[in-house]
């Protein structure tokens, strides 16, 4: 993989996007009713994986490295999380809910990976004018 040189403005945009995404995650989590299965994190990770796969559909994301950084590793990177997923899985198992822990782990992987693949698939469909060409 090739890398652009690391630019301070990109790092700052990732920080701003990441802070926004994390606050959104916090608000979803705080607003959701309590449940044994951690639905908020599951929904956040599935929606975020779909959105990251779909992101190149936006012309501005394909054009601007800065917008791509702010929205991809920034907003969606900060919105979704592996640490809470692992933490909730560990907690469920430690509390004796081993079956729920396994189901949560598997459900996040199956739905999250499918969502990312679907987003990418939709983003890669040729635009109408390209299809004609």
């Amino acid at each position: 993989m090739t890398h652009h040189p690391l630019r301070a403005v990109d790092v700052l945009l990732v920080a701003a996007g990441g802070a926004t995404g994390a606050v959104l995650r916090h608000l979803v989590d705080a607003g959701a009713p309590d449940s044994l299965l951690p639905w908020p994190t599951l929904a956040i990770n599935v929606v975020g994986a779909f959105a990251l796969g779909l992101l190149p559909v936006l012309a501005v994301v394909r054009r601007s490295r800065r917008v791509a950084a702010a929205l991809g590793p920034g907003l969606l990177g900060g919105f979704t999380t592996v640490s809470a997923w692992a933490g909730e899985t560990r907690h469920l198992a430690a509390e004796g809910h081993v079956g729920v822990a396994g189901a949560y782990l598997a459900l996040t992987l199956a739905a999250g990976l499918s969502a990312a693949a679907l987003g990418q698939h939709l983003a890669r469909r040729p635009e109408p004018e390209e299809a004609l060409g």
Partner: protein
Amino acid sequence: MSTVLLVALGAAVGAPLRYVVARLDGYVPRGMLAVNTIGSGLFGLFAALSLGEAAWALLATGFCGAFTSFSTFAVQAVERPGRAGAGYVVATTVLAVGACALGWLVGAGLV
């Protein structure tokens, strides 16, 4: 400081740190593997320490939450063909949950 601001502050450090470390990613996404493992380990450690609401918002929800990223992992996994993608999924899952459990044991004084 409000909980929301503390989450934003932790994430404003965690997300750019991930962005810099993820530049190590090649065909083997070793940067993201390290990020998701270390972030999950710290999350387990903080969980065992019974942090107050403010410290939890800053360190766990904010920093660890934004340092690690499920969306980046998922897209990287589906971009890699067959066995490489499956290996990355298994490695991330085992390392993240394993590190989280280890972090919790360290925090609880059991290791």
